[in-house]
Every structure is written in structure tokens, then in C-alpha cells.
């Protein structure tokens, strides 16, 4: 799965995007966040407050409880500050 990071998530993790094979037991976005957080300190730091993270699957906003299903691309970012 393609995983993208923006703003301070990108900075903390140290990459803008990556391709990862996910273990089959990851059901929801929250499961993926928990799994990523175990990779290293950068990920743990980026995801330390999951309630501040916004998520988009295939460029659509989703909740953290959303099932991953066969999502092609998931993106993590802080609350948006457009305009």
C-alpha cells in the first residue's frame, strides 16, 4: 500500500511517501497507525496523538475507525490550514 505523509508527519517520519506490504491482521486505519508506530521512534513520535491526525484513503477523508479494505493509497496529515 502506498502511504503518504504531509507537513509535520512527513518531517517526523522523514519521508513523504512509501510503499509497504501490510500484515493481514490490520483491519482499520487505527490498526495501521498502531502498526506504523512500532516501526521506529520517528513513526511513534508522528503518531503519538492519533486524535490530532487526519486521514484520507484514495484522497477522501475517512475516520480512524474506517476499514482499510483494498485501499490503494492512504495519507496521514495534521488538521488542515488552507485559505
Amino acid at each position: 500500500m502506498k502511504i503518504r505523509y504531509f507537513a509535520w508527519l512527513r518531517e517526523r517520519i522523514g519521508t513523504a511517501e512509501e510503499e509497504r506490504d501490510l500484515p493481514e491482521n490490520l483491519v482499520t486505519v487505527a490498526d495501521l497507525i498502531a502498526w506504523l508506530s512500532r516501526i521506529d521512534e520517528g513513526y511513534a513520535y508522528a503518531f503519538e496523538q492519533p486524535e490530532t491526525i487526519r486521514v484520507a484513503i484514495n484522497q477522501e477523508h475517512v475516520e480512524i475507525t474506517q476499514p482499510l479494505l483494498d485501499a490503494k493509497e492512504i495519507a496521514f496529515f495534521p488538521p488542515m490550514t488552507g485559505g
Binding site: 507537513a7 484522497q59 496529515f77 490550514t81 488552507g82 485559505g83
Partner: protein
């Protein structure tokens, strides 16, 4: 009307040109409301804001809210331009132009779009200071979140 124009771009924009392209040779427009958002620096410390965005999703999200606006108000023209990249203090960041026969529709549509651009368009702003230091990422304001609830 169901058409609108959305552009996400690095280069600057010209409000007058965009307004003309909506209103030239037309007589059915009674009101044009334009909103220009600028890179503001009240403390004389900011050199620029660096706007990061999610290409593709930014256009999709803005178009989604433009579609909501044209369904909700009788608009005769609608343009939204949002810049990304490094924008020096004092320069333009975002433009919304709403045209309608009547002023209330034009005001409300522009106001509505700005509220949703603030909270739902995937852009993030990082501060660059005059002393060369990089600041933090601008935090989302609860106030902006509240503003979007006015439209429910």
C-alpha cells in the same frame, strides 16, 4: 449554473483578470464578491509561509465544496484559486470570486467557501522567519472549525 473554476497553482493570480473572465459581456450579474487571502505578518518577524499541499486531493476537495456552493446558491460564476509553495509576507494566497444576480447569494457563497477551504482543503503552512529560522507549522484554529458549523 453548474460550472465553476478551480485552480491549485504555485504562481500568483490576478483578481481583476479572474473577475473579468467571469463577468465580461454579461448582464445577468448583479453582485460580485471576491475574497483575497494574504500572507499576513503582524509582528514583523515573518519572511514567508511555505504552503505544502496534497496534489490532486486539494483540487478534489475544493471542487467538492464549489459544487455544494453552486447547488446551494443561485450563482452566475464561481472561481477558486489556491496557491502552494513559498509565499512571502504581504503576497496573495487564495482567491474566491462568487457572482450572482443578488448580493446575499454572492456574499454567502464566498464566505462558505472560505470557511471550508480553511478546514477541509489539504494545505499546511510552515513559517519562515526573517532571521532565517524556520518556525513551526501553523496550527488549525478551533474558531475556524466552529465557523464551518454555521453552514449546516
Amino acid at each position: 449554473m453548474s460550472a465553476f473554476k478551480v485552480r491549485v497553482q504555485e504562481e500568483n493570480f490576478n483578481c481583476e483578470e479572474e473577475t473579468k473572465s467571469l463577468s465580461a459581456n454579461r448582464k445577468d450579474i448583479g453582485a460580485i464578491v471576491s475574497f483575497t487571502g494574504l500572507c499576513r505578518d503582524e509582528n514583523q518577524t515573518l519572511a514567508a509561509l511555505e504552503l505544502e499541499h496534497f496534489p490532486g486531493m486539494a483540487e478534489k476537495q475544493i471542487s467538492f465544496y464549489c459544487q455544494q456552493a453552486v447547488e446551494r446558491w443561485p450563482l452566475t460564476g464561481l472561481t477558486v484559486i489556491h496557491r502552494f509553495g513559498k509565499i512571502p509576507a504581504g503576497e496573495q494566497i487564495v482567491l474566491v470570486i462568487a457572482c450572482s444576480a443578488h448580493r446575499r447569494a454572492a456574499f454567502e457563497a464566498a464566505d462558505f467557501l472560505m470557511d471550508f477551504l480553511k478546514t477541509k482543503a489539504p494545505f499546511w503552512k510552515k513559517e519562515h522567519f526573517l532571521d532565517g529560522q524556520t518556525g513551526g507549522w501553523v496550527e488549525a484554529k478551533q474558531e475556524d472549525e466552529e465557523d464551518t458549523k454555521r453552514w449546516q
